[in-house]
C-alpha cells in the first residue's frame, strides 16, 4: 500500500543527495508529495492549496538556497508551517468574572458532545470547581438519560427538567439551567446540545437562540477527528450560525490522521483547545500542536534525520 510521506520524502531526498541546491523541479516533486500526503490525511483542499503555496514560496527562497542541506530545510519548513497554523495562541478555558461560567457544546450528530460534557465536568471538578451539566438535547432518543448517567459517573450534578425524546424546549432548559446554577451555587455550567447539521437552518437557529439565552463564555465546536473534506463547510456553518470560541477534536484515540485540525484552525482561526481520546471520562487532554503536526504528516523519521544532520 502507500508508503508514508516520511518514506517518500526520504526517497526523494536520497535522489537529491549531493546536489548543492534544489531546482524548481525538485521543489515541485517535494511539494507534490506533501500535497498528496495532506490530502490523504484529510486536510481540506483549500487549506492544502494555501499550505503548499506557502511552502513552495519559502522553499524557493533564500533560507533554502543557503541551507547546508536544502532538502531537509524544506521538511523543516513544512513542520514549522504546520505547527504555526495548529498552534497560535494556546489558551485555557475562559472563566466568567461573575460565576457561573457558561460553556456551550455544539457540533454534528455523534461527534462526541455528550461524552465530552462528562469529561469537562470531571476535569473541572478535579480543579475544585462545582460544575453543573444541563441536558439541552431533547431530541435524540435517550440523550437525557445518557447525560444523567454520564454525570453520575463523573460525580457531578445534572439539570434535566425535561424528559426529552421530542418533549421540552431546549432554549428554555438552557436558560433555566443557568438560572438554577446561579441560585444553587454552581460555578460552571456545561450545556449539552443536540447534534445538528450545518445546513439545518431550523436547528442552527435553535443553537443561536440557546446562545442568546445564556450568553456563554465559551462555545466549543466538537469535531470528530475522522471527518474528511466536509470539515470546512461544517466549521463555517457553525462559525456563521452559532459562532464558536474554541474547538475540541474527538476520537483522537483512533488512527485517523486528523487533518481536520489543520482545516478548522486555518479556516476559522479558532484554536483547538482539547483532545478527546477515548470513551472514558479521563480520556481527555489539552491539545498539543506539535504532536498533531507529526501525526498529520507522519514526519517523524524525516525530522529525526534532520536533527542528526
Amino acid at each position: 500500500m502507500f508508503s508514508s510521506l516520511s518514506d517518500r520524502l526520504t526517497a526523494t531526498f536520497r535522489s537529491l543527495r549531493g546536489k548543492g541546491r534544489l531546482s524548481p523541479e525538485d521543489v515541485d516533486t517535494t511539494v507534490r508529495e506533501i500535497r498528496r500526503a495532506l490530502l490523504e490525511a484529510d486536510v481540506a483542499l483549500p487549506v492544502v492549496r494555501q499550505f503548499t503555496t506557502a511552502v513552495r514560496e519559502r522553499a524557493l527562497g533564500e533560507e533554502v538556497s543557503q541551507a547546508l542541506n536544502p532538502a531537509q530545510q524544506v521538511v523543516k519548513i513544512v513542520n514549522d508551517e504546520l505547527i504555526s497554523i495548529l498552534g497560535g495562541e494556546t489558551r485555557r478555558l475562559r472563566l466568567a468574572k461573575t460565576p457561573p461560567t457558561v460553556i456551550m457544546l455544539a457540533g454534528l450528530q455523534g461527534a462526541g458532545k455528550t461524552t465530552l460534557a462528562g469529561k469537562l465536568a470531571r476535569h473541572l471538578r478535579n480543579l475544585n470547581h462545582r460544575p453543573l451539566l444541563v441536558a439541552c438535547d431533547l431530541q435524540r432518543p435517550n440523550a437525557v438519560n445518557q447525560l444523567q448517567i454520564t454525570g453520575e459517573r463523573a460525580g457531578v450534578d445534572v439539570y434535566a427538567p425535561e424528559p426529552g425524546n421530542g418533549v421540552g424546549d431546549p432554549v428554555a432548559v438552557a436558560r433555566a439551567g443557568v438560572e438554577h446554577a446561579r441560585s444553587q451555587g454552581y460555578d460552571v455550567v456545561v450545556l449539552d446540545t443536540a447534534g445538528r447539521l450545518g445546513i439545518d437552518a431550523e436547528m442552527m437557529q435553535q443553537a443561536a437562540d440557546i446562545r442568546t439565552a445564556t450568553n456563554p463564555d465559551e462555545i466549543l465546536f466538537v469535531l470528530d477527528a475522522m471527518i474528511g473534506q466536509d470539515a470546512v463547510q461544517t466549521a463555517e456553518a457553525f462559525r456563521d450560525g452559532v459562532g464558536f470560541t474554541g474547538v475540541v477534536l474527538t476520537k483522537l484515540d483512533g488512527d485517523a490522521r486528523g487533518g481536520a485540525a489543520l482545516s478548522v484552525r486555518s479556516v476559522t482561526g479558532q484554536p483547538v483547545m482539547f483532545a478527546s481520546t477515548g470513551e472514558k471520562l479521563d480520556d481527555f487532554e489539552l491539545f498539543h500542536p506539535d504532536r498533531m503536526a507529526s501525526r498529520i504528516l507522519d514526519l517523524g523519521d524525516v525530522l529525526t534525520l534532520i536533527e542528526q544532520a
Binding site: 445518557q146 474528511g228 488512527d255 485517523a256
Partner: protein, 293 residues
C-alpha cells in the same frame, strides 16, 4: 443542483481554453477530492476521462460532464448486488449484525431498518448488544417502542454483549420472528481488544446458525479513515454491506467508492436523517449526481 460548483466552473473554463492544460484537469480532480473520493481513485478517474476526451475529441461542456458522470457510475458499479438478506430460513429468523466506529448511526439505523421490515409485514426483534455506552440500550428500546417491536436487553450495564446478542437471537427463534437486528457498541478499528470482542459476538451468535448480514455503518462525513474502518471490520466480522449515513448533510461520502472497489462490499442503504423513515436503498445514479452536480 448548484450550477456554480467547482466542477461547473472547471468544465467551462476547460472548454473555453484553447488547450486543455494541467490546471483545468486539476479542477476536475478537485471536485472528486472534495467528495472524499481519495487521491488515487480521483487520479484514475481523471486519467481515464482524459483518455476518452482525447480519443473522442470532445469539446462540448455538457458532453464532458456526462462523460464524467458515466465514468463515476462505472466506478461505483451498478452491477453489484445490493439486496438485503433478510429472509427467514426454516426454523430460524434472519440475523443482521450492525457494526461500526463510534457515533456513525448504528442504533438509529437499526431503528429505521426495523421500521422498513415491519412495513414489509415482518416480525422483528432488536438485540441491544451495546452494553457499554451510557443509555445505549434505552436508546435502542426507544426505537423499538417507536416502531412497535420488542427489544432484548440486559438490565445490567457492562453485561457480556455476546450473551445479549445470543439471547436476542434465541428470543427471535422462540417468537418465530422473521428478522433479528443486533445493535453493537461503537468501537474504533484500531482497538484490538474491542475488535476481538466483536468477533466473539459474531461467533457466539453463530451458535444459532449463520449470520445473514453484517452491516458496517459508515458516516458520510468520514474521510480517508473510512477505508481503514472497512478493511479492519471486514477482517474481523466479514462485512456484507455498508450503510452510508448522514447523507442529508453536505458531505458526499465518496470514500465508499474506494471501499467498494477494494473490498467488493456494496453500499446497500443510506441514512438521510434522524427520523424513522429516513433510510433508503443506495442508488448509484443519485449518489453520483450529488457529486457532479
Amino acid at each position: 443542483a448548484r450550477s456554480n460548483s467547482a466542477l461547473g466552473k472547471g468544465l467551462l473554463a476547460l472548454l473555453s481554453r484553447d488547450t486543455l492544460d494541467e490546471g483545468t484537469w486539476e479542477e476536475v480532480e478537485d471536485t472528486l477530492l472534495l467528495a472524499d473520493i481519495g487521491v488515487d481513485p480521483a487520479t484514475e478517474i481523471v486519467d481515464s476521462l482524459r483518455e476518452r476526451v482525447r480519443v473522442l475529441g470532445t469539446r462540448e461542456p455538457e458532453r464532458l460532464r456526462e462523460m464524467l458522470r458515466e465514468e463515476l457510475i462505472r466506478v461505483v458499479d451498478p452491477g453489484m448486488d445490493r439486496s438485503l438478506k433478510v429472509e427467514r430460513h426454516g426454523e430460524r429468523p434472519a440475523v443482521v449484525l450492525v457494526v461500526g466506529v463510534n457515533g456513525t448511526g448504528k442504533t438509529t439505523t437499526v431503528g429505521k431498518l426495523a421500521r422498513v421490515l415491519v412495513a414489509q409485514d415482518k416480525d422483528v426483534v432488536l438485540g441491544a448488544a451495546d452494553t457499554f455506552r451510557a443509555a445505549a440500550a434505552d436508546q435502542l428500546q426507544t426505537w423499538g417502542d417507536r416502531v412497535g417491536v420488542p427489544t432484548v436487553r440486559s438490565d445490567r450495564d457492562g453485561a457480556d454483549p455476546a450473551a445479549v446478542a445470543f439471547d436476542a437471537v434465541k428470543t427471535g427463534i422462540e417468537m418465530e420472528a422473521d428478522v433479528v437486528l443486533v445493535d453493537t457498541a461503537g468501537r474504533l478499528q484500531n482497538k484490538a481488544g474491542l475488535m476481538d470482542e466483536l468477533g466473539k459476538v459474531k461467533r457466539v451468535v453463530e451458535k444459532h446458525g449463520p449470520v445473514d448480514e453484517v452491516l458496517l455503518v459508515l458516516d458520510a462525513t468520514t474521510g480517508q479513515n473510512g477505508m481503514q474502518q472497512a478493511r479492519v471490520f471486514s477482517e474481523v466480522v466479514h462485512v456484507t454491506g455498508i450503510v452510508l449515513t448522514k447523507l442529508d448533510g453536505t458531505a458526499k461520502g465518496g470514500i465508499v467508492v474506494a471501499v467498494q472497489r477494494a473490498l467488493g462490499v456494496p453500499v446497500k442503504l443510506i441514512g438521510l436523517g434522524e427520523g424513522v423513515d429516513d433510510l433508503a436503498p443506495f442508488e448509484v445514479e443519485a449518489f453520483v449526481d450529488a457529486i457532479v452536480s
